[in-house]
Structure formats: C-alpha cells, structure tokens
Subunit: 158 residues, 3 copies
Amino acid sequence: MANEAKDKMTIILFSGELDKALAAFTLATTAASSGMDVTIFFTFWGLNLLKKVSRKPKKESWMNKMLNMVNKGLPLSRLNMFGMGSWMMKKMMKDARMASLEDLMKLAKQLNVKYIACTTSCTVMGLGEGDLIEGVTSFAGAATYLAEAKESKINLFI
Amino acid sequence: MANEAKDKMTIILFSGELDKALAAFTLATTAASSGMDVTIFFTFWGLNLLKKVSRKPKKESWMNKMLNMVNKGLPLSRLNMFGMGSWMMKKMMKDARMASLEDLMKLAKQLNVKYIACTTSCTVMGLGEGDLIEGVTSFAGAATYLAEAKESKINLFI
Amino acid sequence: MANEAKDKMTIILFSGELDKALAAFTLATTAASSGMDVTIFFTFWGLNLLKKVSRKPKKESWMNKMLNMVNKGLPLSRLNMFGMGSWMMKKMMKDARMASLEDLMKLAKQLNVKYIACTTSCTVMGLGEGDLIEGVTSFAGAATYLAEAKESKINLFI
C-alpha cells in the first residue's frame, strides 16, 4: 500500500435488524466522512437492506415467500413487544432529531461507501441483480471480503 | 505512535444481554490485566449496563417507560425459557466459582478500562449524565470510537 | 513477526445459531484455503458446535439437562417460525448446492483451522475434554485468544 492510501474499514452486515443496521450505517458514514474508505459486505439477513421494496425475488418459490414473511420490515434485535419496538425506536429517533436509516443509507452512497452483496447468500435466497437497489457496487464472495479486510484497520461483524 | 505505546483494544458493546456482557468484560479485564489499553464504547442496549439502578431516566416519557420494561434485567441472547436462562447461568457460574458481571465490572474500573457512552444513543434513550454510573469516562460519538479503533490491534463488535 | 509469516485471522464464535456458524465457517475455510492461519475460539453457545452428538456432559446435572434442551439443534438467529427456519435454510442451501455446516467443518479441519475451546465456558457448562469432538486443538482462556488476535489482521466476534 502506498503511504498516501486512505485508512480502510470493513463491516460485515449479517444482521437484518433495524438497530444493528443503524449502528452499522452510523459507523460507516462517520468513517467515510472523516476520509476513510469503507466497505460493507452484506450477507444473510443483512441482504434485506439491499432489497428493492417493490420487486419480488426472481425465484418466487413458497420458501422465498415464507422467508419474506419472516423478513418483512426490520425488527429490533431485542424483544420487541409484539412489533412495537421498531415503531417506538423510529418515533424516539425522530423526536431526538436523529437521521433515519433511509437518510443514513442515502448519505453512505454520497460518501462512496462500497456495498458488496454476498453472492452465496443471494443464491440461497434466490435474489438476482434486478432484485437489489442500485447502490450495490458489486457481487462477490468471502474471498473478496477477506482481501479487503486484510488491508483494513477496522473490521467489524455486525 | 511511539514504540513504547501500549497495545490497544476496543469493544463496541451494542448488546444488553448478560452472556454477551460477560464475554465483553472477560475479554476487557483479561486484556487490561495483561497491560493492554482497553476502551469499551457502550451504545444502544449496551448502555443498560451503565444505568444507575435506582435512577429513572431524566426524560421519563411513556416511551422510556416501555423501553425500560423491555430492557429490565439482562436477558440472555438465546431463548431463555420464560426468564429462567439468566438465573440458570448465574447459578451455574456461581457453582463453577466464576466471577459475576458485577465483579468483572468492578475489576475493569480498577484496571482503568475506559467506558465511553455513545452520546447519540443517550439522546435517543433520554439518558443524561446523572442517569449513568460513575465509571463512565466520557460521552462521545462514533468519530471518537473510530479514532481509537484505528490505533487498536483488536476491535470487536459485541 | 518475520516477513514470511502467514497472515492471521481469529474468530470468536460466541453464537450457537446455524446461520452464524455458517458465516463463521465460510469465512474460516475461505481464509485458510487462501493461505491464512485461522483460529476459531469457541465460547458460550458456540461450544455447542464442538459437542459430540452422542455423549452426555460429564456433570449431568438437571441444569445441564435444561441447558441442553435449550441448546438442542442449532436454531437461526432470527425468528424461526416455530422451528421451521433451520429446516428451510438447510433445504434452500441444498437446492442451491451449497456446502452444509458439516461439510464446512470437515473442510476446516483439512485446512488446519485451529479450534480453541474456552476453558471458562467449558467449566460453566460442565463440559470435559471427552464431551467434545476430536478436532479441538486446545483448551484455553481469553489470554490465549488475545495473544493470537494481537498478531492477526482480521478479528471478528460472531
């Protein structure tokens, strides 16, 4: 690496919960706005964050339908009182004038945070390129993540 | 960094569960007692570990009350059989003569483990300085964490 | 460290869920097959992955029996629809011709991924050497993990 290379951070976003996604994107956007080179590797439930809302998965099997049922919306990682948790957190964030997840994801793209969608997880979940939002930088596997992480000063699994 | 600088470790403690807190404080105290410089950044549910037991949050809204209901005590991160999980783990730890979380947290302070409370999370949860235990070293945001993590050899998100 | 030393990665496998275990072993085997030196430190629920299926824990107390009930099989980390989650994921993985967890764990051993079983967790859970599979490289505590992690380029807590 050249001396003038930017400091790097990688995040594996494995979780699909609202609170963990907020933590990941707060870290990613703060790092990127301070000049770091940030890559988020979306895998497993984390891929839900990259799904187009309107599109159905390409391979719409009954299993996908059931998985979508499970995945609908982003729950909190903790007991969420029959679905009230996410709503409460959004309300509290709004009251405290915090950025929403949507705002943070927009900001992340403006700051050139790289989004890598895990090819293996996409295959398992029947998700094709057309099912994901435009911000996805590339589709790649664990080897690509590891190459990036080896060069990074901060690597987190969220 | 000078050559004589201590090796550093940072932990983001996002989770509020007993088992994850035990893992975090076991790592933190072991690292600190071997001469490492350790910082724990408490965010989201992790902030519950810093709450004074007797005090109510400053902004006691009905939402805070409900969040507190959700957060009461530290559950395990896994299915806990109607609340038996935490109690069982405490009993088993005692039987095995393990240090309790309270002991580990006391030890952490004796070993100068730094506690940073995430300002953003405090705002969302309506927690002021007076609501938190005395061991808190400072209130700061993601930028402070990142500056610390960039200088650290081990960075974990728990 | 000598220049010819291999790049290292450590994973703390704290979680006992199928999806997180799959993520951990996919990363571990990919790293090891690209020439990295990989250590997995199994602690808390992660120890379930190392249990011999047929053996009962040495100290078979009623608490162990209950813990085993809780731990039976590897659930998913997300809402699993009354147990259907794991089964669904296995079916989808098979349909997508993915390696199973069993395959990945076999591969990990062929690639010399080191398994360290956390002594503290073993004590709490009443697990002796005879209760664990043969692949376990050693029994050790947090200090051993930290020594390894300080020398590693990638450290993850899963």
